[in-house]
């Protein structure tokens, strides 16, 4: 990795959808090994920022780097370092969930036998082993959430990006995901999380960034951002929304 200390670096990022400005001169950095909560109301620019980082969105100006690699010019390097757990269930409907993970690992250059073993480990870890040979349509909503996580982790990425990973999950699944994310972060992975659950961000994260209408309105170490207030109070204060 070219720059081992800064996992994600965004400078002066501007993004328009037609005439609508989704991101306005956004700047921030995420350190390696950080657990970063990226918060904001609906439509604030969270998913757009994630899409830019992962290469799913073009942007008009700015610099976006992953461990020093430019996401546009050096996209093959940056994409191998990132795993994305998206909001929506977007699985290939023709494949079983085991095949799906093995193919996904294959795109990352992992040989089929290693991919198969890793897929089984992840399916086992997320209690999906009994559905190994089923297609994703046979899975419940919670199982699909877990499968999204398995897919994001199949190539053992340095940075895990999670777009509302526990939305719609029951308590048991939420705690399972929290434990696993905390464990991954402890092992040195950088985690970038968006969520609408303030207690989730407060419990798990070390650094907090809040975006509103395409602008970063607050960013810093958790203690620095909270200053003895609850995250919910800070969120309402800087975004004006409950």
């Amino acid at each position: 990795m070219r720059n081992s200390e800064i996992a994600i670096s965004i400078k002066n990022l501007t993004k328009f959808y037609g005439k609508f400005q989704a991101l306005d001169n956004v700047c921030f950095e995420v350190k390696r090994g950080d657990f970063f909560a990226f918060l904001g109301p609906n439509g604030a620019g969270k998913t757009t920022t994630i899409n830019v980082i992962t290469g799913l969105s073009n942007y008009q100006s700015g610099d976006v780097k992953i461990f020093g690699f430019d996401t546009t010019r050096e996209y093959t390097q940056t994409r191998s370092l990132v795993g994305l757990c998206a909001q929506e269930f977007n699985f290939d409907p023709f494949l079983t969930i085991h095949q799906l993970l093995v193919y996904q690992a294959g795109y990352f250059g992992i040989t089929p036998w290693i991919a198969s073993r890793r897929a089984d480990e992840l399916l086992d870890r997320f209690q999906l082993m009994e559905k190994r040979n089923s297609k994703h349509r046979a899975l419940s909503g919670g199982m699909k959430k877990r499968l999204l996580l398995c897919r994001a982790l199949i190539h053992d990425p340095e940075i895990l990006i999670l777009d509302e990973p526990t939305a719609g999950c029951d308590l048991e699944l939420k705690f399972l995901i929290w434990d696993y994310l905390a464990q991954l972060n402890k092992e040195g992975k950088t985690v970038f999380l968006t969520t609408h659950y303030m207690e989730e961000a407060e419990k798990l994260c070390k650094t907090i960034g809040i975006i509103n209408r395409g602008h970063i309105v607050r960013i810093g170490d958790k203690k620095e951002v909270l200053q003895d207030k609850s995250l919910e109070d800070v969120f309402i204060e800087v975004t004006g929304q409950e």
Partner: protein
């Protein structure tokens, strides 16, 4: 050009297995319609068509054209449906998030279309053996044309899949542009039989060169210089391939 061979092979394998797993929808229908074409045009009507100037029976004459028709439609349909469904379900993100280069992505997706086209073309040829003695004038040229034509129309299928907003738009190019041009490209008749104006118009039909390239490879007979057909199909394949890579690079209807 290929830095991630395992990734490219994984995508190729997925695309090939997809059409193989639904062979009753992808492989057998063109073979069944070929049998009907060969019976009706080759056996029932063909005996009354005089093609003595070419030295071929009517069935021998139309066989390369039938191979071309099914090669083109199979290649086009494979990539267009695969990529469009991936866009529709948004599982194209699985590929877009991967470290495959745009060149490798196109190559991987192309593999399914080329392989399906190849399998169908071989199948049509094998079926023709039931009706006429097998003959291949130039096997290497035949392989060359099958691959070039499959590459061109697999890429066209990907472009169509990127352009289309719904399933109706997806099949529009195939129904209203590609198939009429193929049928008017000399599949069922020698161009010499046409009036001068139509003969001139046919020279501007790209399918004419593909049909004649394949016809020369199978029978040794062509309405147009084989060198022209070889060069034209190569240039078209390269242009279509890199145009598709370019569309992936700019993220045309792939990235927001």
């Amino acid at each position: 050009m290929i830095n991630n061979p395992i990734g490219t092979l994984s995508l190729s394998k997925r695309e090939i297995l997809r059409f193989v797993s639904v062979a009753n929808q992808t492989i057998f229908p063109p073979l069944v319609s070929s049998v009907l074409f060969m019976y009706i045009f080759g056996v029932a009507i063909g005996s009354r068509v005089d093609l003595s100037s070419t030295g071929l029976s009517y069935l021998q004459f139309i066989l390369p054209g039938l191979m071309t028709i099914h090669l083109i439609s199979s290649s086009y349909e494979n990539t267009s449906s695969s990529l469009f469904i991936a866009r529709w379900h948004n599982h194209i993100q699985e590929v877009l998030l991967s470290p495959l280069s745009y060149f490798e992505m196109v190559l991987g997706l192309l593999a399914g279309g080329v392989m399906r086209g190849f399998v169908v073309a071989v199948g049509v040829f094998l079926i023709s053996c039931l009706f006429t003695p097998p003959q291949i004038f130039h096997p290497i040229l035949l392989f060359y044309f099958v691959i070039m034509i499959a590459v061109i129309f697999s890429c066209a299928g990907m472009m169509g899949a990127l352009w289309a907003e719904d399933f109706g738009m997806l099949s529009m190019w195939n129904i209203y542009v590609i198939m009429p041009l193929v049928f008017l490209g000399g599949v069922f008749y020698p161009v010499d039989l046409l009036p001068p104006a139509l003969k001139l118009a046919t020279a501007f039909n790209p399918m004419y060169y593909f049909v004649n390239g394949l016809r020369y490879s199978v029978t040794g007979v062509s309405d147009v210089s084989i060198y022209t057909c070889v060069a034209f199909s190569f240039i078209m394949a390269v242009c279509f391939f890199f145009a598709t890579v370019y569309l992936f690079k700019i993220g045309y209807k792939l990235r927001t």
